[in-house]
Symmetry: C2
Subunit: 329 residues, 2 copies
């Protein structure tokens, strides 16, 4: 028995601030065609794949930033992508900045902004939508930073949870699909919520500055790739799932984003890795039945998890100082 | 500013079933002396450090297994260890099988068994006790297994949570200390509960068969070391803590346990690693101030965690099948 799906990670090189959608869509179409030639059935693009990583640019009035957002999907600009998805008969993960008119917590319909990803079926339908939960950075202009990271300004925290859905991905093969976006991959809570829904393929895109830009203490440049890989490999192993983790990489207007997109198996092994920090396609055959070993042995959650010992995870947001011990003699 | 503590991982080679406490204690004393010579202030021994890994042996009547358990600490057999701790002025993590007479959930005092670790202060006092929460394996004899793994038979699930305590570890240096035992290290929930208490040094011992012994599907031998390291490195990075992870290694009565003990920094880097699968000491200087960068930036929990999205972690033990999506056209 095996349930093989051929997965492609379609890494994008940099998109400069002045570039429009058309050039980017053209590059994505070429990657999709290449993916089709290599037999891919699922293609994963990066987070915010249609524009530069704009949260590095401060904007006093958010409405001025609307050009970076998609008010609908497909839109005139993204229609060629949907056409190609149908033509090639592939499933696609796409990250984009979402502009939505919908009720807020008070029930008032207003303009809302999310860092969003969707899975698009080969027939062009939206299979699943996810809105990023773990927004890094800050909401106000930060004087101490050389580069801003304003995700908390541009986006609201995702309000769709971490959904998983079972959908056809290849002839005769259904897969349990989940999504994460960028910084989510560093949070084991997010991976576990997906694992508790038997996820078999986690699709995730990222835009990751290759330095910890908070300028508090030193963090060696190369560690950023280690951290990305470590989080993804551990997430896969500990939840017995495949993942395709895909970068927008390279230097955007002088600001470097790391590449090193990877496809990882349920053993936590990297089975494909991008070698450039530019547009690049990597492909791997993923036998979803390999998720069974972990799920039925070491990570049989029903047998081994102890939620009564995990209450701090939900009862507490920040950390607290521990008790102090002093010798009695 | 720096808060440096010199940490030693005191890996033990195999202990055969027929071996008594005395030989083992003698080996531990030699490692302690060597640790002292190398300037160690904290020394971490393995899980169940005083005996062979007995959960591989089936016992119909648990009382017959009492010889593997410690009814008190120190005991006549372990007194020389406590004497050496005082003589060298070091702090020690010790894993052992604990026999306790104490009330159960019904309030009835009875004989209870735990897979336990303690931190022993340089003055011989017990700083902190932990009882293993994630017991792997099974409770009854399993016909399909070539080797038994009866931790769920021999031990009750730990009932002390995942405590962290701040204690002096070096002249002028206090550290936030936490413990895990063996299989706990694969569970990010456990690391996070420690992280939410600002842990700075996780001490953990293990006895890990170098094969997934459940005999369901294939898992390459070498992956077991990858899995151990991956879990520890990710746990350290994602909680901005050091860890000393220490094996009982080598071949016990024909059954192989992996070694590869490591000391890991808050960046998730391995900064010391054992090269043998026998008695071996590795030492690293750990500057606890290095925990600050992660804790104040990427893993500033108060700023970035979203517990409202994590409710499945405690409301659900096992996994559930996801919703099914089918194309509408």
């Amino acid at each position: 028995m095996s349930r093989i799906v051929t997965v492609a990670a379609a890494q994008l090189g940099p998109i400069q601030r002045a570039e429009g959608r058309e050039g980017v869509i053209g590059r994505m179409l070429r990657l999709l065609e290449r993916a089709h030639q290599r037999g891919a059935q699922v293609v994963v693009f990066p987070e915010l794949a249609l524009t530069t990583f704009f949260p590095r640019w401060y904007c006093e009035d958010l409405d001025e930033a609307d050009a970076w957002f998609e008010p609908s999907l497909p839109s005139p600009a993204t229609q060629p992508l949907f056409d190609a998805i149908k033509r090639f008969g592939v499933m696609v993960y796409l990250g984009y900045a979402e502009l939505a008119w919908e009720p807020d917590e008070q029930g008032i319909v207003r303009k809302r902004r999310f860092n969003t990803s969707v899975v698009i079926a080969p027939n062009g339908e939206i299979v699943l939508k996810y809105r990023k939960v773990h927004l890094p950075g800050h909401a106000e202009f930060a004087e101490h930073r050389q580069v801003q990271h304003l995700e908390k300004r541009y986006f609201e925290v995702g309000n769709l949870g971490f959904p998983v859905v079972r959908a056809p991905v290849a002839p005769g093969v259904d897969a349990n699909l989940g999504m994460l976006i960028c910084n989510d991959r560093r949070w084991p809570e997010a991976w576990r919520v997906l694992g508790l829904q038997q996820v078999e393929l986690v699709m995730l895109g990222y835009n990751t500055p290759s330095r910890n830009q908070d300028n508090r203490g030193f963090e060696a440049h190369h560690l950023r790739v280690l951290h990305s890989h470590l989080s993804i490999q551990a997430g896969c192993y500990q939840n017995a799932t495949f993942a395709a983790a895909v970068a927008k990489a390279g230097t955007e207007d002088g600001h470097e984003l790391l590449g090193h997109s990877i496809i990882v198996n349920p053993q936590g092994e990297i089975i494909a890795m991008a070698a450039t920090w530019d547009d690049e396609l990597i492909v791997a055959d993923c036998d979803l039945d390999l998720c069974e070993l972990g799920r039925n042995t070491v990570f049989n959650f029903a047998k081994h998890r102890r939620p009564e010992a995990y209450t701090r995870l939900v009862e507490q947001t920040g950390s607290v100082a521990p008790a102090v011990w002093t010798p009695s003699v």
